[in-house]
């Protein structure tokens, strides 16, 4: 992109990604506009406005030098851990399953921020680990502890979806950091054994039920299987071209639950059909491809791991949400990036995105620290 006549700050942005992304957000805004019965309030307007604000924040993040990231990695992680404990303690006192802290001007969900947080701290960890140690226990035990603490707490909350997202980000970093394959094979084997045991002992009843219902949604047509069934009906009835803007009966007549948050994709697909779905997937492909390219082209280990981990986190959001709404995964409360209404999750996604942009900047200006 050679744009000599535009200011450097603007020209420097990765417009090839931001532009499609902005289209996707506007598209999401249109869907939310329709879901609200043809109104910018309460969701659509806020959605686009938030994106713009958080895009600014992401660009801000992208201007931070790499050593800030490195220096801040562990303190940020530590702070988030303390906040998680605090949330748990306050939640116990409050007697509910409260997962956020009310900071007065906004509600903060520490587990949400832990998703990029774990990526950051593990990228820092593997960067500082001597390459020769990568095959030894020093590569796995500290990382395992860094992961186990927040993931364990989030499971206690109980929020299985977020715990899985944190674990996924961490495992991707470990994988890319070059841990021996046998760890993953062994880990996979252990998970295959421990998974069923944990399923029947550790999980809460309602979580177990969700899994059972996912396997057979018709068994509970009015309970949690209802979500899956109605979502599939919404997507399927849209056909290729959809029912038309504002004509989605599933969302407008409230058959589709959470039509503006977790199931926003179904709301979209009902009105815009497969065409709209393919557009969404294409934008996600562009964003993820951009993230991975940035990671591969990154100048050093830290930025490589950081960019790849952030990309994986965005991917995990998208993949789990879409699999859920299409009936390929159990119902877990994970929103769809850039389309679902919700401040906390958008902030997380934009933190990830900003970090990827930052890595891209470091690669363009080989002035980053060695």
């Amino acid at each position: 992109m050679k744009r000599a006549y535009v200011p450097r700050v603007i020209a420097a942005q990765p417009w090839g990604v931001i532009f499609p992304l902005f289209l996707l957000v506007l598209f999401g805004g249109a869907v939310l506009y329709s879901a609200a019965g043809g109104s910018l309030r309460p969701w659509a307007g806020m959605h686009v406005a938030r994106f713009i604000v958080f895009l600014g924040m992401a660009i801000g993040i992208s201007h931070m030098p790499q050593n800030w990231f490195k220096r801040a990695a562990f303190p940020i992680y530590g702070t988030l851990c303390v906040l998680l404990v605090l949330v748990e303690a306050l939640g116990k006192i409050g007697g509910g399953s409260q997962r956020w802290l009310n900071l007065g001007f906004m509600t903060l969900q520490p587990s949400e921020l832990m998703k990029p947080g774990i990526v950051l701290v593990l990228a820092w960890f593997y960067d500082s680990l001597p390459p020769s140690e990568i095959r030894g226990w020093r590569a796995i035990v500290p990382a395992g502890i860094l992961l186990a603490f927040p993931a364990g707490f989030v499971i206690l909350q109980p929020d299985l979806g977020t715990a899985l997202a944190i674990t996924f980000g961490a495992v991707v970093i470990m994988f890319l950091a070059g841990l021996p394959m046998r760890w993953f094979a062994g880990g996979g084997l252990a998970a295959a054994i421990a998974g069923p045991i944990a399923f029947f002992t550790l999980l809460h009843d309602y979580q177990r039920k969700r899994v059972f219902v996912f396997l057979n949604p018709e068994s509970d047509p009015l309970g949690s299987g209802y979500h899956i069934t109605q979502s599939k009906i919404a997507i399927g009835s849209g056909g290729f071209f959809g029912k038309g803007f504002g004509n989605g009966s599933q969302s407008h007549l409230d058959y589709l639950p959470e039509s503006h948050t977790d199931f926003v994709f179904a709301t979209m697909a009902e009105e815009w059909g497969m065409l709209g779905g393919l557009f969404g997937l294409a934008v996600f492909a562009i964003v993820l491809r951009y993230g991975l390219k940035v990671a591969i082209n990154a100048p050093d280990r830290f930025s490589k791991l950081l960019a790849a981990g952030m990309t994986a986190t965005i991917f995990f959001y998208m993949a789990i949400n879409l699999m859920m709404v299409m009936g390929l995964a159990p119902v877990v409360g994970i929103p769809l990036p850039f389309m679902s209404h919700g401040g906390s999750s958008m902030m997380t996604i934009m933190v990830c995105f900003g970090t990827i942009m930052a890595v891209e900047r470091w690669s363009r200006r080989p002035g980053g620290l060695s």
Partner: protein
């Protein structure tokens, strides 16, 4: 760490590994993306038709509108069962989210009393699936509106405006019309008709409502609306009106039925009035009865407790299902059989108060004796010895044949669920049933309507109408424009004349039935009374004491005596003798000729009884509600009610062993009848206690 000799990993190697693994990761992500695209294509292209249909069935709500039920009207077109517009609320158990709180909420909004709330919870416990459970009917607009506006929060609660069954005369027609109720699970299994599980739709559960159910049902209307998941209607898409069911017109005379039922008063009894020319059943009252209005709304615990406690068996239609030994009412029939067999009506016997047969003495009800008795006197004085004596000469077969000719032991082609047709004993019958030879005392018992003899009040009415008309009259319940032609019985007119004369004498002359005289100038009543023993004299005298040990009282009659037009049979269960039946028959017949005069007499009586049927039932309900409230035991569900009704309507069993002794005739009503039973019927005896004919009474050897 088997390969410890491997050279330590270098940064370059790691970078290399990163590239390879990032490629794998990218491939993995790409394949998930492809998987999602394929899945989406599968859902929205391959399965599109299926999901389109599902979405459409979500969007459009088809509600059946229960059809208005056909009316049941009397011979003059007055409604016995009609419909009234009402507001109602149902709950569909399957759609409830939080049953407990929803029910409490609804109960508060409708301000239901605690016993109704308990009833509702019982019903919800027992029900399942999409069968609606009625919460309340006949609601006011405010209550209906209170539920309607909160419908989105009350999932599974369905307020509706529609029509509910209404029986203007209530309990007095309950046994004839029957009642309606929501279809049971079995009904639905049988028909698989979605109408059956439409809230507000009811099917006939008993009586004519059940017999003519298909005819009365009609065709449902339908309403298509676009509705949200929580049931909030967004807009109407179209409505098809219902087609009401066809009416059923009865031969019954509504006001006469009403009068007859009311006149039975506190007693347990029946009144049947027949037209002697057409066989039309003008009244067939069986009291006490349930109120079909509240039965159709669902039977609550308080009502159920009332019904269960009542030893007068309100659930039994005694006109068709009550079997009683007829007592002396069979004597005109027996006399006809004597005449048929060639007995000279002037042949006499001397009654000294008893007759020695073999080594036993069979007593006449009048122990002082009747002196010289011929046939007419035998009837109007109801002399037992006359019949003991000649029955032995004429034989039981002649009597049994005449009984059958007059309709005893028969079922009639009527639109009813069933009839108990009783027993006309004969030597052949006894041999078939008990493998025992007919004995002299069997004949003796039968001639006075005791022993094995059992008939229902309808048969008694048919018997007297046939004696009065001389034709083979058949009873009919449905109104028809054409009058049927009934063939003659084949009994010589002079035989009938003699019996009718004796029956007229019985009421108006030297007989035992003066109490039945009509207070109408120029209209005479002819009749015959009967007192049937329920327990042997060794147990009780049949007049007082325990209610269900008292004698049954019968009276059958026709009027005018010289030109019979109306026939009537009255049975008062445990009335203490025929003295209880005669005034009822008199007043009912009076009503036919002079309603005002009869009504005045009734109103006097009702003041003593504590109001008319409706008022007394309401008072009793209030007393029960105050005493038990929600603590009354659970109400029976549909199946149990049906079972109980069936149980109560089972015919009285014939004794399983042959009788071996003679019955002693109960006194005829020169003896003062027992006083009116105490107002509060003692709820001691179980409701299913049926009158059982005890086979033997004390006889002297």
């Amino acid at each position: 760490m088997a390969r410890k000799q491997a050279i330590p990993t270098s940064a370059a190697q790691l970078s290399n590994a990163f590239d390879r693994r990032a490629f794998v990761l990218g491939m993995g992500q790409a394949s998930v993306g492809v998987l999602l695209a394929v899945r989406m294509g599968y859902l929205s292209l391959a399965e599109q038709a299926k999901y389109k249909a599902a979405s459409e069935s979500n969007r459009v709500n088809l509600t059946l509108i229960p059809p208005r039920r056909g009316w049941i009207v009397d011979r003059n077109g007055a409604a016995l069962a009609s419909n009234r517009a009402d507001f109602r609320v149902d709950i569909i158990p399957d759609r409830l989210v939080d049953a407990e709180s929803t029910v409490d909420r609804v109960a508060t909004l409708l301000s239901l009393p605690p016993d109704k709330v308990a009833d509702l919870k019982d019903k919800l416990d027992k029900s399942h699936g999409f069968r609606p459970v009625e919460v309340a009917a006949n609601l006011g607009w405010e209550q209906y509106a209170a539920i309607s506006v909160r419908q989105p929060e009350l999932r599974g609660v369905i307020p509706q405006r529609g029509y509910s069954r209404y029986y203007p005369t209530g309990a007095v027609v309950g046994h004839v019309t029957g009642y309606v109720g929501p279809a049971s699970a079995e009904d639905y299994e049988k028909e698989r008709n979605p109408l059956l599980i439409t809230p507000g739709f009811k099917i006939g559960k008993d009586g004519l409502e059940k017999y003519f159910d298909q005819r009365l049902r009609g065709t449902p209307g339908a309403r298509r609306v676009e509705a949200t998941a929580s049931g909030h209607v967004v807009r109407e898409l179209g409505t098809r009106e219902d087609i009401p069911g066809l009416p059923v017109k009865l031969a019954l005379h509504g006001p006469l039925q009403d009068y007859a039922a009311r006149r039975i008063g506190l007693e347990s009894g029946t009144v049947v009035v027949m037209d002697c020319r057409t066989g039309d059943l003008l009244a067939m009252a069986s009291m006490p009865c349930f109120d079909p209005n509240s039965f159709s709304d669902g039977i609550g615990r308080i009502e159920w407790k009332m019904l269960s406690d009542d030893d007068h068996v309100p659930l039994r239609n005694k006109v068709l299902r009550g079997l009683y030994p007829p007592g002396s009412t069979v004597k005109p029939m027996v006399a006809l059989s004597f005449l048929e067999a060639g007995l000279d009506p002037h042949a006499t016997v001397v009654c000294n108060g008893g007759l020695r047969v073999g080594n036993r003495v069979f007593h006449c009800w009048n122990h002082r004796g009747h002196g010289v008795v011929d046939m007419e006197k035998g009837i109007y004085q109801s002399c037992d010895v006359y019949f003991y004596y000649f029955a032995q000469k004429m034989g039981m077969d002649a009597i049994a044949a005449m009984a059958s000719r007059l309709g005893l032991g028969q079922e009639f082609p009527l639109p009813v669920a069933g009839q108990s047709y009783g027993t006309v004993p004969s030597p052949a019958w006894k041999m078939r049933k008990y493998h025992k030879d007919w004995a002299v005392y069997d004949t003796v018992n039968a001639t006075i309507g005791q022993g094995y003899f059992l008939l229902n009040p309808l048969q008694m009415a048919v018997m007297v109408s046939r004696i009065a008309s001389g034709r083979k009259l058949m009873p009919r319940m449905l109104f028809e424009d054409q009058n049927p032609r009934f063939e003659p019985l084949g009994i010589p007119e002079e035989h009938l004349e003699l019996v009718r004369r004796a029956m007229t004498e019985m009421v108006n002359g030297a007989g035992t039935g003066h109490r039945a005289q009509l207070p109408i100038p120029n209209v005479q009543l002819a009749g015959k009374s009967g007192t049937a023993q329920v327990v042997g004299l060794n147990v009780g005298n049949g007049k007082g004491g325990i209610w269900n040990h008292r004698d049954h009282g019968h009276f059958m009659c026709f009027a005018p005596a010289d030109n019979p037009r109306y026939a009537c049979s009255v049975t008062i269960e445990h009335g203490g003798g025929s003295g209880a039946a005669m005034p009822v028959a008199r007043d009912v017949m009076t009503y036919i000729f002079d309603p005002a005069k009869a009504m005045a007499a009734l109103e006097d009586l009702e003041r003593q009884w504590g109001g008319n049927v409706e008022q007394r039932m309401a008072a009793k309900y209030d007393a029960y509600a105050a005493q038990y409230g929600a603590n009354a035991p659970k109400a029976a569900n549909e199946e149990q009610v049906a079972e109980t009704v069936a149980d109560d309507n089972k015919p009285v069993a014939e004794p399983s062993t042959a009788q071996t002794d003679a019955a002693t005739p109960a006194p005829e009503p020169e003896v003062a009848p027992s006083p009116v039973p105490t107002v509060a019927a003692p709820p001691a005896a179980p409701a299913s206690a049926s009158p059982v004919v005890l086979p033997h009474a004390g006889t002297t050897p």
